[in-house]
Amino acid sequence: MSFQPVKFYQTGTFTVGNRLLPDAERSVQSTVRRHNSLNSGHRACQGCGEALGARYAIDAAMEATSGQLIAANATGCLEVFSTPYPETSWQIPWVHSLFGNTAAVATGIAAAMRVKGRSEVRVVAQGGDGGTTDIGFGCLSGMFERNDDVLYICYDNGGYMNTGVQRSSATPPAARTATTMAVGPTPGNPFGQGKDLPAIAMAHNIPYVATATVSELRDLEAKVRRAMEFRGARYLHILVPCPLGWGHDSALTIRMARLAHESGIFPVFEAESGEVTGASKIRRQVPVEEYLRPQKRYAHLFSPKPREDVIRRIQEAADRNIRKYGLLETTP
């Protein structure tokens, strides 16, 4: 893995830690050069993980392309909160067409740039997990398969939050949504369903696939930068906690993302041409309960009757991820 995380455990945040780094290693977000591609004043909820993820990712992409970037955006929270016309938060050329066609729209933009000989202009497509893993899946797979020169970024908050928190194929097992209600003998989303989209992307043998969370800013930026070094189809899957849908305190967004990583719930890795090339290691595995407990979508696992059986299944899934991707740091 090309990116080596810098540890600032004394501060707990890379924002302060940045000052201790040489210029070249500082995050894009910490520099005065940052583009503010998704500018302030938008209508995202307090603590919105998607707003953070999009800001980090697009600013990093702008930095990597020297400002030569066009974005296509799926219908969803990001689209709605960023463009309440006559206001727009986007400081870059940006187009929204439909919910399910973003990858194809991006393909069209990339084709237009190629035919006009403007190969320096790069294209990003972005959407939530519903627009990516469900309704936009056909167009996404087509874009991957043709190896079109597009970086597709999925901001995964595990459900259709814009329409009022319904289940998507990215909703995790046991999670309560408006369509996987916390009632009956098996409350919440069923086990054994859902798509592992990073793995599906890898199965297309595209040049680059990576996952990231909003808790590891420099890792996320490094992956965007790395993605932009390739031509062809690239996929970045960013876990973005949603205070509204997950039911956690809006101050805990970064913490929830970090716990998802450190528990093994969400493996953070990267892959080239279908092969995993590196994974972000976990120093100390956190029990999944620490991740689940602050989220109201899992409240039915803790009261009125603790569902240790269900928590155990979630723990097993996290442990599987840790084995599969070799996530635990080994003591030298």
Partner: protein, 416 residues
């Protein structure tokens, strides 16, 4: 240059002369030969610079065209039937965003029951999507309309659908006059987009619009189409001067001046209708024909003028609104001083041949006042009655289409 060629290839060549920059292809009969022809030209380097993209669905085809057009490229695709319905959401979106995409629709029936043959149900289902809809009568007109369509689309920032009858035109080999590149270049200026995604001048496109402005945005789309009512005949005239033939325009009247009964229709069936009317004229029946080339925008004034003096109007159409009757008829009635004198004849559904004998029979019945206001031409009434009887007799009467086919038996020999 005169040449003997297939309708689809004629259209492919005409589209290539328009210098498209992005072409999206997804196979569906009877459109496929068009994109095959274009694909070969791109791959061989004869059409360059141009990106030919094999997409995974018609929804993606229109979406790629949307992206390409929004980024300032001249974009083209072709589809038919189920494909047009599968891309419907993006078809509306392209129009709503004002992206001047040109698309050929090789008209074909819509299932179920699945049917690959010609009628107009596909285009008619999208008549209110905001695209300009032009219907070609001949292969010559089909190729000419594409050249006009790009100019019209780009001038108004409105997408244009060129509709041509599947198989009847797309697969027919006949003589066409293929213009030269110089002629087309002189007629069709380079694409100057009104809106474009460009890092040098960033804009946001596709924002949500609420009740405060939605009506105005939609009304502007209507205004653009009303402007097209002036541009289409003006540019058809310019086309006539530049290319030496009449193609396009809003309507094509034929022997209507003194006609008592005018037959209105769209597309390739107009040839058969004109032959039928010529024969009836020889027998002293004063029929005329009105071909509608531009279905959207609806040329109200031109049609009102053309049918103004006729006592009766027969609308012969290859689609119908289930539970209502004629779709084109409903439009014609809005342009008629006496809507009750407008008769609907539904014909040619799913590729059923429309014969001169059948046309003459129904035309004369309307003239004599013995036809109902809505007729399904050559309907096998006995088979329908038997199907209804079966449904009365048995609750589980089974799948409708299959039972009817079993009843009718081998049918090919009966079609003329």
């Amino acid at each position: 240059m005169l040449k003997q060629t297939e309708g689809s290839h004629a259209v492919a060549e005409a589209v290539a002369l328009c210098r498209p920059e992005v072409i999206c292809a997804y196979p569906i009969s009877p459109q496929t030969h068009i994109v095959e022809g274009l694909g070969e030209m791109v791959k061989s380097g004869d059409l360059a610079p141009c990106e030919f993209i094999n997409v995974e669905s018609e929804f993606a085809a229109m979406s790629v065209a949307i992206g390409a057009s929004a980024a300032g490229a001249r974009a083209y695709t072709a589809t038919a039937s189920q494909g047009l319905l599968y891309m419907a959401e993006a078809v509306f979106n392209a129009a709503g965003m004002g992206l001047p995409i040109v698309m050929t629709v090789a008209n074909r029936a819509i299932g179920a029951p699945i049917n690959i043959w010609n009628d107009h149900t596909d285009s008619m289902s999208q008549r209110d999507c905001g695209w300009i809809q032009l219907f070609a009568e001949t292969n010559q007109e089909a190729l000419d309309l594409h050249i006009q369509a790009f100019r019209l689309a780009e001038e108004l920032s409105v997408p244009v659908m060129v509709c041509m009858d599947g198989f009847i035109l797309t697969h027919a080999y006949e003589r066409v006059d293929m213009p030269t590149q110089a002629q087309v270049d002189a007629y069709l200026p380079p694409f100057q987009p009104r809106q474009v995604l460009d890092p040098q001048e960033p804009v946001s496109m596709g924002a949500m619009v609420g009740p405060e402005a939605f009506t105005e945005v939609r009304y502007l789309a209507h205004v653009k189409q009303m402007q097209a009512l002036d541009l289409i005949p003006a540019w058809a005239e310019e086309f006539r001067k530049a290319f030496g033939r009449d193609s396009g325009g809003l309507i094509h009247p034929y022997r209507t001046e003194d006609a008592d009964t005018i037959v209105v229709a769209l597309g390739s069936v107009l040839g058969t209708i004109k032959d039928t009317v010529d024969a009836l004229r020889d027998q002293g029946h004063k029929f005329g024909v009105l071909g509608i080339t531009c279905f959207r925008p609806w040329p109200t004034a031109a049609i009102r003028e053309a049918i103004g003096n006729a006592k009766k109007v027969i609308v012969l159409e290859k689609a119908f609104g289930v539970g209502l009757g004629g779709i084109v008829s409903a439009n014609v009635r809005t342009s008629s001083g006496s809507p009750d004198s407008v008769y609907t004849v539904i014909a040619g559904l799913g590729g059923r041949p429309i014969t001169r004998d059948s046309l003459a029979r129904i035309f004369l019945e309307v003239e004599a006042g013995t036809a109902p206001s809505l007729t399904f031409l050559d309907l096998n009434r006995a088979a329908v009655d038997r199907a209804l009887a079966r449904e009365r007799e048995t609750r589980r009467s089974g799948p409708i289409a299959e039972a009817l086919l079993r009843d009718v038996g081998l049918v090919t020999a009966q079609l003329r």
